[in-house]
């Protein structure tokens, strides 16, 4: 049999100050003698306290969601580990899709611009795990990044980079966040830093984004130089796309 509360309406009336003085007096008296009423009233009070804990409820919601999503089994997320084979598969699929899309674009001569090419090829799908250093600020900055609050993210990353100039991950994310906020010169600076430091973990994507930044900035010679380097590398995941862009740029 389904159990129900017996005194909800009475308690509601009491809590909403809708009782007369006489009714309040009787209610208070009943609380002392009626155990069920007292229990229900106690429950009501506890619920009020518990439901005011917005942050804990939100935290619990996230915990339950994570548990039910089977986070312990599935390790795939928005951020993809560069070292994982799955990443290469995803990148290959992405490159293939982009190639098909690119084919359509390139069969229409003259129907493009550097900006259009950039928009066609720019994606943040190459974003890599950044938390290797375990830097606290990185976590906050990445949270902003994931929330697509790129403006706030660039501010946090710039703070990190002032004290941790060798943090390639921060340089990389800062570059992407700068692209998103159209600060292309800043983005170029970030990606150049990674390329100059030859961090193998990020360099492939940094070169790719660097080329795209030059492209959108109408620095065609530099863009071509970047894409030529990418196109010349046998195993570069951006090779096919770089070749496509080069073909298009050479026709201009």
């Amino acid at each position: 049999m389904i159990k129900k509360c017996l005194y909800s309406e009475t308690i509601e009336k009491y809590l909403s100050d809708e009782m007369s003085a006489e009714e309040v007096k009787r209610f208070n008296s009943d609380l002392l003698t009626n155990k069920i009423l007292a229990k229900e009233f106690q429950l009501e009070k506890e619920l009020t306290v518990i439901l005011k804990q917005d942050d804990i409820i939100d935290f619990r919601k996230k915990l339950l969601k994570t548990y039910h999503e089977g986070a312990s089994k599935s390790k795939a997320g928005v951020i993809v580990a560069l070292s994982s084979k799955k990443w290469y598969m995803a990148a290959a699929s992405l490159a293939f899709l982009m190639m098909v899309g690119g084919m359509l674009l390139f069969t229409m001569p003259g129907n493009y611009s550097n900006e259009a090419l950039f928009r066609k090829y720019y994606t943040t799908d190459n974003v890599i795990n950044v938390a290797r250093s375990g830097n606290v600020n990185i976590v906050e900055a990445v949270i902003k990044f994931q929330e697509k609050d790129y403006s706030a993210a660039t501010k946090l990353f710039s703070v990190i980079l002032k004290s941790d100039n060798i943090n390639t991950a921060a340089w990389f994310y800062n570059g992407i966040a700068c692209i998103e906020t159209r600060q292309y010169q800043e983005a170029i600076k970030s990606f150049n830093h990674i390329v100059a430091n030859k961090d193998s973990y990020y360099i492939e994507h940094a070169e790719w984004y660097l080329g795209l930044c030059y492209l959108v900035n109408n620095e065609n010679d530099r863009a071509m130089s970047s894409f030529q380097k990418i196109a010349s590398e046998k195993r570069n995941v951006h090779k096919a796309d770089a070749q496509m862009i080069l073909t298009k740029l050479q026709k201009k």
């Binding site: 389904i2 159990k3 129900k4 509360c5 909800s8 309406e9 509601e12 069920i36 229990k39 229900e40 429950l43 506890e46 619920l47 009020t48 518990i50 439901l51 005011k52 804990q53 917005d54 942050d55 804990i56 409820i57 939100d58 935290f59 619990r60 919601k61 996230k62 915990l63 339950l64 994570t66 548990y67 986070a71 312990s72 390790k75 997320g77 951020i79 580990a81 795990n129 938390a131 290797r132 250093s133 375990g134 830097n135 606290v136 990185i138 976590v139 906050e140 990445v142 949270i143 994931q146």
Partner: protein, 193 residues
Amino acid sequence: MIHYSDEAIIEGLRLRSDYIIKFIYQEYFPVIKYLVNSNGGYDEDAEDVFQDGLIIIYKKLKDNELVLSSSYKTFLYSICRNLWLQKLNKKTAFNRSFSEIEQYIELPGDILGEVQNEENEKYRLFQVHFLTLGEDCQKVLKLFMHKTSLRDVAQIMGYKTEKYAKLRKFLCKEELKKRILNDPKCQNFFNHD
């Protein structure tokens, strides 16, 4: 595999970061699950213990009262271990010796107090039931708990009248109480009979 430092985990928890929560589950839940399973508990018990442990840490963080005297992993393990031991003590069926899985520390008094606070389990159950309500009901109840006026609730929720807002609040709370009343796990805290 990503590796967050203890400092990053703590900060991520303070921010209730989805990524840190996922990381914690991936990295530490299996150990707690093994601990509970090895000591007479089911996966569901392990989940409860793990979540309660994290909530205790979060509450201490929120109040700026958390001082890590060990690695985060050992700290979390020690809290969960204590939570499970406490539950086992209430069970008469468990007579075997307790199998340790990891190294643990003696918890500081304030954390131990939280672990032993029986209200925590009640709060978890009530909150879990609240989270099973529809989004609409959750929102209405939250608004009322924060003493939002009927007029504002009606406006925020898009209800035509204040009277309807009041009715929704009543019905949502009734549904929540009904779920609590009919949950056998809640009988320890709220026995209506």
